[in-house]
Protein backbone atom coordinates (compact mmCIF):
# COMPACT_ATOMS: atom_id res chain seq x y z
CA UNK A 1 0.00 0.00 0.00
CA UNK A 2 2.97 2.31 0.73
CA UNK A 3 4.20 1.91 -2.86
CA UNK A 4 0.72 2.57 -4.12
CA UNK A 5 0.72 5.88 -2.23
CA UNK A 6 4.07 6.81 -3.73
CA UNK A 7 2.81 5.92 -7.16
CA UNK A 8 -0.22 8.10 -6.53
CA UNK A 9 1.99 11.06 -5.65
CA UNK A 10 4.13 10.41 -8.70
CA UNK A 11 1.06 10.43 -10.87
CA UNK A 12 -0.18 13.70 -9.34
CA UNK A 13 3.08 15.47 -10.07
CA UNK A 14 3.82 13.73 -13.35
CA UNK A 15 2.36 16.54 -15.41
CA UNK A 16 4.02 19.38 -13.53
CA UNK A 17 5.72 21.66 -16.06
CA UNK A 18 7.96 23.60 -13.73
CA UNK A 19 11.07 24.40 -15.76
CA UNK A 20 14.15 26.25 -14.65
CA UNK A 21 14.87 29.53 -16.41
CA UNK A 22 17.77 27.90 -18.24
CA UNK A 23 15.49 25.12 -19.51
CA UNK A 24 12.88 27.64 -20.54
CA UNK A 25 15.43 29.67 -22.50
CA UNK A 26 16.86 26.59 -24.20
CA UNK A 27 13.43 25.38 -25.21
CA UNK A 28 12.34 28.83 -26.32
CA UNK A 29 15.36 29.61 -28.48
CA UNK A 30 15.09 26.11 -29.95
CA UNK A 31 11.52 26.85 -31.01
CA UNK A 32 12.35 30.31 -32.35
CA UNK A 33 15.51 29.17 -34.12
CA UNK A 34 18.10 31.29 -32.33
CA UNK A 35 21.34 29.26 -32.36
CA UNK A 36 24.12 29.80 -29.81
CA UNK A 37 22.58 32.95 -28.34
CA UNK A 38 24.98 35.53 -26.92
CA UNK A 39 22.88 38.68 -26.59
CA UNK A 40 19.16 38.46 -27.23
CA UNK A 41 16.59 41.24 -27.07
CA UNK A 42 12.94 40.17 -26.86
CA UNK A 43 10.31 42.79 -27.70
CA UNK A 44 6.59 42.19 -27.27
CA UNK A 45 4.76 44.21 -29.93
CA UNK A 46 1.17 43.29 -29.09
CA UNK A 47 1.05 44.67 -25.58
CA UNK A 48 1.45 48.44 -25.75
CA UNK A 49 0.54 50.40 -28.86
CA UNK A 50 1.68 53.59 -27.15
CA UNK A 51 5.20 52.12 -27.01
CA UNK A 52 5.71 51.72 -30.76
CA UNK A 53 7.83 54.83 -31.18
CA UNK A 54 10.04 53.72 -28.27
CA UNK A 55 10.40 50.26 -29.81
CA UNK A 56 11.53 51.85 -33.07
CA UNK A 57 14.20 53.89 -31.30
CA UNK A 58 15.34 50.78 -29.44
CA UNK A 59 15.66 48.75 -32.64
CA UNK A 60 17.79 51.42 -34.27
CA UNK A 61 19.97 51.56 -31.18
CA UNK A 62 20.40 47.78 -31.17
CA UNK A 63 21.42 47.78 -34.81
CA UNK A 64 23.97 50.50 -34.10
CA UNK A 65 25.47 48.48 -31.27
CA UNK A 66 25.32 45.20 -33.21
CA UNK A 67 25.87 41.63 -31.95
CA UNK A 68 22.26 41.29 -30.84
CA UNK A 69 19.70 38.72 -31.86
CA UNK A 70 16.24 40.30 -31.73
CA UNK A 71 13.04 38.32 -31.24
CA UNK A 72 9.85 40.17 -32.12
CA UNK A 73 6.91 38.70 -30.22
CA UNK A 74 3.79 39.43 -32.22
CA UNK A 75 1.00 37.71 -34.05
CA UNK A 76 1.34 40.27 -36.81
CA UNK A 77 4.38 40.18 -39.09
CA UNK A 78 2.67 42.98 -40.97
CA UNK A 79 2.87 45.19 -37.90
CA UNK A 80 6.51 44.26 -37.35
CA UNK A 81 7.31 45.06 -40.97
CA UNK A 82 5.56 48.44 -40.81
CA UNK A 83 7.37 49.38 -37.62
CA UNK A 84 10.86 48.12 -38.42
CA UNK A 85 11.03 47.47 -42.13
CA UNK A 86 14.37 49.24 -42.46
CA UNK A 87 15.89 47.51 -39.46
CA UNK A 88 15.32 43.84 -40.24
CA UNK A 89 18.40 41.70 -40.73
CA UNK A 90 19.52 38.08 -40.46
CA UNK A 91 19.47 38.39 -36.66
CA UNK A 92 15.77 39.24 -36.51
CA UNK A 93 13.43 36.41 -35.44
CA UNK A 94 9.68 36.17 -35.01
CA UNK A 95 7.64 34.61 -32.24
CA UNK A 96 4.18 34.63 -33.79
CA UNK A 97 2.73 32.14 -31.30
CA UNK A 98 3.64 34.43 -28.39
CA UNK A 99 5.67 31.61 -26.83
CA UNK A 100 7.72 34.12 -24.82
CA UNK A 101 4.61 34.95 -22.82
CA UNK A 102 3.84 31.30 -22.10
CA UNK A 103 7.42 30.69 -21.02
CA UNK A 104 7.31 33.78 -18.81
CA UNK A 105 10.39 35.29 -20.45
CA UNK A 106 8.93 38.77 -20.75
CA UNK A 107 6.53 40.69 -18.55
CA UNK A 108 5.78 43.48 -20.98
CA UNK A 109 9.00 45.47 -21.10
CA UNK A 110 11.63 44.64 -23.74
CA UNK A 111 13.99 42.18 -22.09
CA UNK A 112 17.65 41.43 -22.76
CA UNK A 113 19.27 38.07 -22.04
CA UNK A 114 23.07 37.81 -22.13
CA UNK A 115 24.92 34.47 -22.05
CA UNK A 116 28.51 33.70 -21.14
CA UNK A 117 30.92 31.63 -23.22
CA UNK A 118 29.58 28.45 -21.63
CA UNK A 119 26.09 29.29 -22.76
CA UNK A 120 24.90 30.07 -19.25
CA UNK A 121 22.73 33.08 -18.56
CA UNK A 122 24.93 35.79 -17.11
CA UNK A 123 22.62 38.80 -17.19
CA UNK A 124 18.96 39.61 -17.60
CA UNK A 125 17.67 43.16 -17.78
CA UNK A 126 14.51 45.00 -18.77
CA UNK A 127 14.52 48.16 -20.84
CA UNK A 128 12.94 51.04 -18.99
CA UNK A 129 11.39 53.56 -21.38
CA UNK A 130 11.02 55.93 -18.44
CA UNK A 131 14.70 56.84 -18.66
CA UNK A 132 15.72 59.37 -21.25
CA UNK A 133 18.73 57.41 -22.51
CA UNK A 134 18.60 53.83 -23.65
CA UNK A 135 21.71 52.14 -22.31
CA UNK A 136 22.25 48.68 -23.72
CA UNK A 137 24.48 46.14 -21.98
Amino acid sequence: MKYLYLLFLLAVYSCSQALSEKEKLEQYFGIIGVENPKKVLIIHLDGCSGCFSYHQILMKKVNEVGNYDVVLVTKSKKKARLLFEEDFNQNTYFDTNLEALDFGLITGFPTIYIFDENGDLSEKSEIDYGTSNLILP
Binding site: S14, K78, L98
Partner: protein, 388 residues
Protein backbone atom coordinates in the same frame (compact mmCIF):
# COMPACT_ATOMS: atom_id res chain seq x y z
CA UNK B 1 -2.30 -7.80 -8.36
CA UNK B 2 -3.54 -4.47 -7.11
CA UNK B 3 -7.24 -4.07 -6.68
CA UNK B 4 -9.22 -2.35 -9.42
CA UNK B 5 -10.00 0.57 -7.08
CA UNK B 6 -6.30 1.34 -6.79
CA UNK B 7 -5.88 1.54 -10.55
CA UNK B 8 -8.93 3.74 -10.75
CA UNK B 9 -7.44 6.02 -8.11
CA UNK B 10 -4.17 6.33 -10.05
CA UNK B 11 -6.02 6.92 -13.29
CA UNK B 12 -8.06 9.70 -11.71
CA UNK B 13 -4.92 11.24 -10.25
CA UNK B 14 -3.26 11.29 -13.69
CA UNK B 15 -6.32 12.74 -15.36
CA UNK B 16 -6.78 15.53 -12.84
CA UNK B 17 -3.07 16.34 -12.59
CA UNK B 18 -3.00 17.08 -16.30
CA UNK B 19 -6.14 19.20 -16.28
CA UNK B 20 -5.73 22.90 -15.69
CA UNK B 21 -8.08 24.65 -13.32
CA UNK B 22 -8.89 26.98 -16.18
CA UNK B 23 -10.61 24.07 -17.87
CA UNK B 24 -12.53 23.31 -14.71
CA UNK B 25 -13.86 26.83 -14.40
CA UNK B 26 -15.10 26.94 -17.98
CA UNK B 27 -18.82 27.04 -18.37
CA UNK B 28 -19.69 30.19 -16.43
CA UNK B 29 -22.22 32.23 -18.29
CA UNK B 30 -25.77 33.33 -18.71
CA UNK B 31 -28.23 34.41 -21.31
CA UNK B 32 -26.98 37.21 -23.51
CA UNK B 33 -29.69 39.87 -23.64
CA UNK B 34 -28.03 41.80 -26.43
CA UNK B 35 -29.13 40.76 -29.91
CA UNK B 36 -26.48 40.27 -32.56
CA UNK B 37 -28.06 42.21 -35.40
CA UNK B 38 -25.41 42.71 -38.05
CA UNK B 39 -21.72 42.66 -38.76
CA UNK B 40 -19.21 44.83 -40.53
CA UNK B 41 -15.97 43.78 -42.15
CA UNK B 42 -13.36 46.52 -41.92
CA UNK B 43 -10.74 46.22 -44.65
CA UNK B 44 -7.19 46.96 -43.54
CA UNK B 45 -4.81 48.10 -46.23
CA UNK B 46 -1.07 47.49 -46.39
CA UNK B 47 -0.40 50.34 -43.93
CA UNK B 48 -2.81 49.38 -41.16
CA UNK B 49 -3.23 46.65 -38.52
CA UNK B 50 -5.98 45.74 -36.02
CA UNK B 51 -4.87 48.31 -33.43
CA UNK B 52 -7.83 50.45 -32.37
CA UNK B 53 -6.98 51.79 -28.92
CA UNK B 54 -7.29 55.42 -30.03
CA UNK B 55 -10.46 55.91 -32.03
CA UNK B 56 -13.48 58.15 -32.40
CA UNK B 57 -16.72 58.11 -34.35
CA UNK B 58 -17.34 61.28 -36.35
CA UNK B 59 -18.93 62.64 -39.50
CA UNK B 60 -16.57 62.96 -42.44
CA UNK B 61 -17.78 63.68 -45.97
CA UNK B 62 -21.30 63.38 -44.56
CA UNK B 63 -20.61 59.75 -43.70
CA UNK B 64 -20.54 58.10 -40.29
CA UNK B 65 -16.84 57.38 -39.94
CA UNK B 66 -14.58 55.32 -37.72
CA UNK B 67 -11.48 57.45 -37.18
CA UNK B 68 -8.44 55.57 -35.93
CA UNK B 69 -5.05 56.80 -34.79
CA UNK B 70 -2.75 54.39 -36.60
CA UNK B 71 0.42 54.43 -34.52
CA UNK B 72 2.02 51.67 -36.57
CA UNK B 73 1.94 53.91 -39.62
CA UNK B 74 1.94 57.29 -37.82
CA UNK B 75 -1.29 58.39 -39.47
CA UNK B 76 -4.94 59.18 -38.82
CA UNK B 77 -7.16 56.82 -40.80
CA UNK B 78 -10.81 57.38 -41.72
CA UNK B 79 -13.15 54.45 -42.52
CA UNK B 80 -16.79 54.70 -43.52
CA UNK B 81 -19.02 52.54 -41.37
CA UNK B 82 -21.36 51.79 -44.25
CA UNK B 83 -18.78 49.83 -46.24
CA UNK B 84 -15.87 49.39 -43.86
CA UNK B 85 -13.45 50.88 -46.38
CA UNK B 86 -10.73 53.40 -45.75
CA UNK B 87 -11.79 56.73 -47.26
CA UNK B 88 -9.08 59.09 -46.09
CA UNK B 89 -5.67 59.08 -44.45
CA UNK B 90 -3.68 61.90 -42.91
CA UNK B 91 -0.05 60.78 -42.99
CA UNK B 92 2.08 62.55 -40.40
CA UNK B 93 5.53 63.72 -41.46
CA UNK B 94 8.27 62.04 -39.43
CA UNK B 95 10.97 64.55 -40.35
CA UNK B 96 11.24 68.21 -41.26
CA UNK B 97 9.72 71.37 -39.81
CA UNK B 98 6.18 69.99 -40.00
CA UNK B 99 6.98 66.66 -38.40
CA UNK B 100 4.38 65.23 -36.06
CA UNK B 101 5.67 62.75 -33.51
CA UNK B 102 4.81 61.51 -30.02
CA UNK B 103 1.09 61.59 -30.79
CA UNK B 104 -0.84 59.89 -28.00
CA UNK B 105 -4.41 60.81 -28.80
CA UNK B 106 -6.62 63.03 -30.92
CA UNK B 107 -9.96 64.75 -31.04
CA UNK B 108 -11.78 65.16 -34.35
CA UNK B 109 -13.97 68.27 -34.12
CA UNK B 110 -14.59 68.82 -37.82
CA UNK B 111 -12.64 68.80 -41.07
CA UNK B 112 -10.95 72.10 -40.19
CA UNK B 113 -10.11 71.29 -36.59
CA UNK B 114 -8.42 68.07 -35.57
CA UNK B 115 -6.45 68.16 -32.31
CA UNK B 116 -3.38 65.94 -32.12
CA UNK B 117 -2.58 65.38 -28.46
CA UNK B 118 0.81 64.43 -27.11
CA UNK B 119 1.71 61.60 -24.76
CA UNK B 120 2.46 62.55 -21.16
CA UNK B 121 1.94 66.26 -21.66
CA UNK B 122 -0.88 68.70 -22.34
CA UNK B 123 1.55 70.98 -24.19
CA UNK B 124 2.58 71.08 -27.85
CA UNK B 125 -0.89 70.16 -29.08
CA UNK B 126 -1.09 70.45 -32.86
CA UNK B 127 -4.23 71.63 -34.57
CA UNK B 128 -4.43 70.30 -38.13
CA UNK B 129 -6.97 70.32 -40.91
CA UNK B 130 -8.23 67.36 -42.92
CA UNK B 131 -5.28 67.67 -45.31
CA UNK B 132 -2.85 67.38 -42.43
CA UNK B 133 -1.73 71.00 -42.53
CA UNK B 134 -0.72 72.33 -39.12
CA UNK B 135 -2.83 75.43 -38.49
CA UNK B 136 -1.91 76.10 -34.85
CA UNK B 137 0.14 74.79 -31.95
CA UNK B 138 -1.09 75.04 -28.40
CA UNK B 139 0.99 75.05 -25.22
CA UNK B 140 -0.90 76.38 -22.22
CA UNK B 141 0.36 78.03 -19.07
CA UNK B 142 0.48 75.30 -16.46
CA UNK B 143 -0.57 75.61 -12.81
CA UNK B 144 2.23 76.23 -10.34
CA UNK B 145 1.05 73.67 -7.80
CA UNK B 146 1.60 70.53 -9.86
CA UNK B 147 2.87 67.42 -8.13
CA UNK B 148 5.88 67.46 -10.42
CA UNK B 149 6.47 71.03 -11.63
CA UNK B 150 5.76 71.46 -15.33
CA UNK B 151 4.41 67.96 -15.80
CA UNK B 152 0.87 66.85 -16.52
CA UNK B 153 0.79 63.16 -17.37
CA UNK B 154 -1.95 63.54 -19.96
CA UNK B 155 -3.33 60.53 -21.81
CA UNK B 156 -6.20 60.13 -24.20
CA UNK B 157 -7.43 56.70 -25.27
CA UNK B 158 -10.85 55.38 -26.12
CA UNK B 159 -11.18 54.48 -22.41
CA UNK B 160 -10.87 58.12 -21.36
CA UNK B 161 -10.79 60.32 -24.43
CA UNK B 162 -9.94 64.00 -24.23
CA UNK B 163 -12.69 66.26 -25.57
CA UNK B 164 -12.74 69.64 -27.25
CA UNK B 165 -15.86 71.30 -25.94
CA UNK B 166 -16.93 74.94 -25.38
CA UNK B 167 -13.48 76.13 -26.53
CA UNK B 168 -11.66 74.01 -23.99
CA UNK B 169 -9.94 70.65 -23.97
CA UNK B 170 -11.11 68.43 -21.12
CA UNK B 171 -8.60 65.75 -20.26
CA UNK B 172 -7.53 63.11 -17.75
CA UNK B 173 -4.04 62.41 -16.49
CA UNK B 174 -2.40 59.32 -15.04
CA UNK B 175 -0.81 59.09 -11.64
CA UNK B 176 2.99 58.80 -11.66
CA UNK B 177 3.27 57.00 -8.33
CA UNK B 178 3.03 53.31 -7.53
CA UNK B 179 -0.56 52.75 -6.48
CA UNK B 180 0.42 49.55 -4.65
CA UNK B 181 2.35 51.64 -2.14
CA UNK B 182 0.32 52.43 0.98
CA UNK B 183 -0.99 55.98 1.13
CA UNK B 184 -0.80 56.79 -2.58
CA UNK B 185 -4.49 56.24 -3.28
CA UNK B 186 -5.27 58.34 -0.24
CA UNK B 187 -3.41 61.36 -1.58
CA UNK B 188 -4.85 64.45 -3.20
CA UNK B 189 -4.09 63.47 -6.80
CA UNK B 190 -6.22 65.46 -9.24
CA UNK B 191 -6.95 63.25 -12.22
CA UNK B 192 -8.94 65.59 -14.45
CA UNK B 193 -8.50 69.03 -15.87
CA UNK B 194 -9.48 71.65 -18.42
CA UNK B 195 -7.27 73.48 -20.90
CA UNK B 196 -9.14 76.73 -21.55
CA UNK B 197 -8.20 77.98 -25.01
CA UNK B 198 -9.55 81.46 -24.23
CA UNK B 199 -7.24 82.08 -21.30
CA UNK B 200 -4.54 79.67 -22.54
CA UNK B 201 -4.38 78.12 -19.09
CA UNK B 202 -4.91 74.77 -17.41
CA UNK B 203 -7.06 74.13 -14.38
CA UNK B 204 -7.09 70.81 -12.51
CA UNK B 205 -10.42 70.03 -10.88
CA UNK B 206 -9.99 69.80 -7.09
CA UNK B 207 -12.80 67.29 -6.72
CA UNK B 208 -11.37 64.94 -9.32
CA UNK B 209 -9.17 62.02 -8.33
CA UNK B 210 -9.55 58.72 -6.59
CA UNK B 211 -12.96 58.09 -5.06
CA UNK B 212 -13.31 57.93 -1.30
CA UNK B 213 -13.57 54.13 -1.50
CA UNK B 214 -9.90 54.01 -2.56
CA UNK B 215 -8.57 56.17 0.26
CA UNK B 216 -7.30 53.48 2.61
CA UNK B 217 -6.40 50.95 -0.06
CA UNK B 218 -3.36 49.88 -2.07
CA UNK B 219 -4.21 48.38 -5.45
CA UNK B 220 -2.43 47.38 -8.66
CA UNK B 221 -2.38 50.19 -11.22
CA UNK B 222 -4.78 48.21 -13.44
CA UNK B 223 -7.42 48.45 -10.72
CA UNK B 224 -6.63 52.05 -9.84
CA UNK B 225 -7.57 53.56 -13.17
CA UNK B 226 -10.91 54.67 -14.53
CA UNK B 227 -12.79 55.06 -17.78
CA UNK B 228 -14.53 58.36 -18.40
CA UNK B 229 -16.91 59.66 -21.07
CA UNK B 230 -19.07 62.70 -21.62
CA UNK B 231 -22.70 61.67 -21.16
CA UNK B 232 -26.16 63.18 -21.32
CA UNK B 233 -26.50 66.85 -20.27
CA UNK B 234 -22.72 67.24 -20.50
CA UNK B 235 -22.12 65.14 -17.44
CA UNK B 236 -18.89 63.23 -16.86
CA UNK B 237 -19.40 59.52 -16.34
CA UNK B 238 -16.63 57.76 -14.40
CA UNK B 239 -16.26 54.01 -14.11
CA UNK B 240 -13.48 53.25 -11.62
CA UNK B 241 -12.14 49.74 -12.03
CA UNK B 242 -12.50 48.69 -8.38
CA UNK B 243 -15.62 50.67 -7.50
CA UNK B 244 -19.08 49.14 -7.79
CA UNK B 245 -20.72 52.53 -8.25
CA UNK B 246 -20.61 54.78 -11.29
CA UNK B 247 -19.73 58.40 -10.45
CA UNK B 248 -21.49 61.20 -12.34
CA UNK B 249 -20.14 64.76 -12.23
CA UNK B 250 -21.29 68.01 -13.74
CA UNK B 251 -19.09 69.53 -16.46
CA UNK B 252 -16.78 71.42 -14.12
CA UNK B 253 -16.76 68.66 -11.56
CA UNK B 254 -18.39 70.47 -8.68
CA UNK B 255 -21.38 68.25 -8.00
CA UNK B 256 -21.20 64.50 -7.87
CA UNK B 257 -23.63 61.63 -7.52
CA UNK B 258 -23.04 57.89 -7.26
CA UNK B 259 -25.06 55.26 -9.10
CA UNK B 260 -24.88 51.80 -7.55
CA UNK B 261 -23.86 49.50 -10.38
CA UNK B 262 -22.54 46.18 -9.06
CA UNK B 263 -22.07 43.37 -11.56
CA UNK B 264 -23.85 40.09 -10.91
CA UNK B 265 -20.53 38.39 -11.66
CA UNK B 266 -18.73 40.08 -8.79
CA UNK B 267 -18.89 37.60 -5.95
CA UNK B 268 -16.13 38.92 -3.67
CA UNK B 269 -14.44 42.16 -2.77
CA UNK B 270 -11.10 42.99 -4.35
CA UNK B 271 -8.38 42.42 -1.73
CA UNK B 272 -6.11 45.15 -0.46
CA UNK B 273 -2.56 44.40 -1.72
CA UNK B 274 0.04 46.81 -0.33
CA UNK B 275 3.51 46.49 -1.87
CA UNK B 276 2.44 43.47 -3.87
CA UNK B 277 4.82 41.69 -6.23
CA UNK B 278 4.13 41.68 -9.96
CA UNK B 279 2.82 38.12 -9.77
CA UNK B 280 0.46 38.95 -6.91
CA UNK B 281 -0.77 42.01 -8.82
CA UNK B 282 -1.44 39.89 -11.89
CA UNK B 283 -3.30 37.34 -9.79
CA UNK B 284 -5.44 40.02 -8.18
CA UNK B 285 -6.32 41.60 -11.52
CA UNK B 286 -7.00 38.36 -13.38
CA UNK B 287 -8.86 36.55 -10.63
CA UNK B 288 -11.10 39.39 -9.44
CA UNK B 289 -14.12 40.70 -11.30
CA UNK B 290 -13.66 44.40 -11.94
CA UNK B 291 -14.97 47.19 -14.11
CA UNK B 292 -13.47 48.74 -17.22
CA UNK B 293 -14.75 50.74 -20.09
CA UNK B 294 -17.86 52.91 -19.97
CA UNK B 295 -19.67 54.15 -23.08
CA UNK B 296 -22.51 56.57 -23.75
CA UNK B 297 -24.94 55.85 -26.57
CA UNK B 298 -26.06 59.28 -27.85
CA UNK B 299 -28.50 57.81 -30.35
CA UNK B 300 -30.65 55.84 -27.92
CA UNK B 301 -29.54 57.59 -24.70
CA UNK B 302 -28.12 54.47 -23.07
CA UNK B 303 -25.07 53.84 -20.91
CA UNK B 304 -22.91 50.72 -21.12
CA UNK B 305 -20.45 49.47 -18.52
CA UNK B 306 -18.00 46.69 -19.36
CA UNK B 307 -17.05 44.19 -16.68
CA UNK B 308 -13.96 41.98 -16.73
CA UNK B 309 -14.99 38.70 -15.07
CA UNK B 310 -12.45 37.13 -12.74
CA UNK B 311 -11.18 33.60 -13.36
CA UNK B 312 -8.67 31.12 -11.97
CA UNK B 313 -5.12 32.50 -12.10
CA UNK B 314 -2.58 30.08 -13.53
CA UNK B 315 0.94 31.31 -12.67
CA UNK B 316 2.46 29.10 -15.37
CA UNK B 317 0.40 30.67 -18.15
CA UNK B 318 -0.65 34.09 -16.86
CA UNK B 319 2.70 35.82 -17.07
CA UNK B 320 1.67 39.24 -18.31
CA UNK B 321 -1.31 41.54 -18.15
CA UNK B 322 -2.12 40.41 -21.70
CA UNK B 323 -3.61 37.29 -20.10
CA UNK B 324 -6.59 39.44 -19.14
CA UNK B 325 -7.82 38.97 -22.71
CA UNK B 326 -8.60 35.34 -21.84
CA UNK B 327 -11.13 36.53 -19.24
CA UNK B 328 -14.83 36.46 -19.99
CA UNK B 329 -16.59 39.79 -19.77
CA UNK B 330 -20.06 41.23 -19.44
CA UNK B 331 -21.84 44.40 -20.51
CA UNK B 332 -24.19 46.20 -18.14
CA UNK B 333 -26.80 48.25 -19.95
CA UNK B 334 -28.61 51.25 -18.43
CA UNK B 335 -31.14 53.71 -19.76
CA UNK B 336 -30.63 57.47 -19.70
CA UNK B 337 -31.86 57.70 -16.10
CA UNK B 338 -29.45 54.97 -14.97
CA UNK B 339 -32.22 52.44 -14.58
CA UNK B 340 -30.68 49.00 -15.05
CA UNK B 341 -31.79 47.13 -18.17
CA UNK B 342 -29.61 44.01 -18.45
CA UNK B 343 -26.18 42.45 -18.02
CA UNK B 344 -24.99 40.28 -20.88
CA UNK B 345 -22.22 37.70 -20.82
CA UNK B 346 -19.47 37.31 -23.45
CA UNK B 347 -16.81 34.63 -23.57
CA UNK B 348 -13.20 35.74 -23.57
CA UNK B 349 -10.53 35.29 -26.25
CA UNK B 350 -12.70 36.53 -29.11
CA UNK B 351 -13.76 40.15 -28.81
CA UNK B 352 -11.71 43.11 -27.65
CA UNK B 353 -14.07 45.45 -25.86
CA UNK B 354 -11.36 48.08 -25.49
CA UNK B 355 -11.92 48.60 -29.23
CA UNK B 356 -15.73 48.72 -28.93
CA UNK B 357 -17.73 51.81 -29.86
CA UNK B 358 -21.27 53.06 -30.38
CA UNK B 359 -22.57 53.77 -33.89
CA UNK B 360 -25.95 54.55 -35.34
CA UNK B 361 -26.64 50.83 -35.76
CA UNK B 362 -25.76 49.91 -32.19
CA UNK B 363 -22.78 48.54 -30.30
CA UNK B 364 -19.80 47.57 -32.44
CA UNK B 365 -17.42 45.03 -30.85
CA UNK B 366 -14.54 43.84 -33.03
CA UNK B 367 -13.07 40.37 -32.98
CA UNK B 368 -9.61 41.74 -32.28
CA UNK B 369 -8.83 39.84 -29.11
CA UNK B 370 -5.12 38.89 -29.26
CA UNK B 371 -6.10 35.29 -28.46
CA UNK B 372 -8.72 35.05 -31.22
CA UNK B 373 -7.63 32.35 -33.64
CA UNK B 374 -9.38 34.07 -36.53
CA UNK B 375 -7.51 37.33 -36.07
CA UNK B 376 -6.67 38.58 -39.55
CA UNK B 377 -4.07 41.20 -40.43
CA UNK B 378 -6.06 42.40 -43.43
CA UNK B 379 -9.65 42.50 -42.24
CA UNK B 380 -11.55 42.76 -38.98
CA UNK B 381 -15.08 41.60 -38.21
CA UNK B 382 -17.12 43.91 -36.01
CA UNK B 383 -20.16 42.27 -34.43
CA UNK B 384 -22.98 44.80 -34.17
CA UNK B 385 -25.45 44.43 -31.30
CA UNK B 386 -28.86 46.06 -31.08
CA UNK B 387 -29.32 48.51 -28.24
CA UNK B 388 -32.81 49.35 -27.07
Amino acid sequence: MWPKKSFLLILLAIVFSCQTKEDKSAGIGSVNDLVLADSLILSLDERSTPEFNYHQIGDFLDQESFINLNLVNNSLDFYNLSEGEIIHRIQFASEGPDRITNVGGFYYHNEDSIFLLQKMTISNIKLIDIKGKITNQLSPILPLDLEIPGLINHFSTSLSPSYFFQNAIYFDQGILKNTSAPGVLGGDFRSSGRFDLNSDSVFLFPKSGFPHFYKDKALPIYLSISSRVLGKNNEWIYSWNALDSILVYDLNMNDRKAIYSKSKFKEKDIPNTPNASLEVELEVVISNTHYCKVLYDPYRKNYLRFVQIGRFFNPDQDNTIMSIFKNDFSIMLYDENWDFISESFFEGSKHNFYHAFIGQKGLYIPRTNPNFEGLDEDKVVFDIYDLL
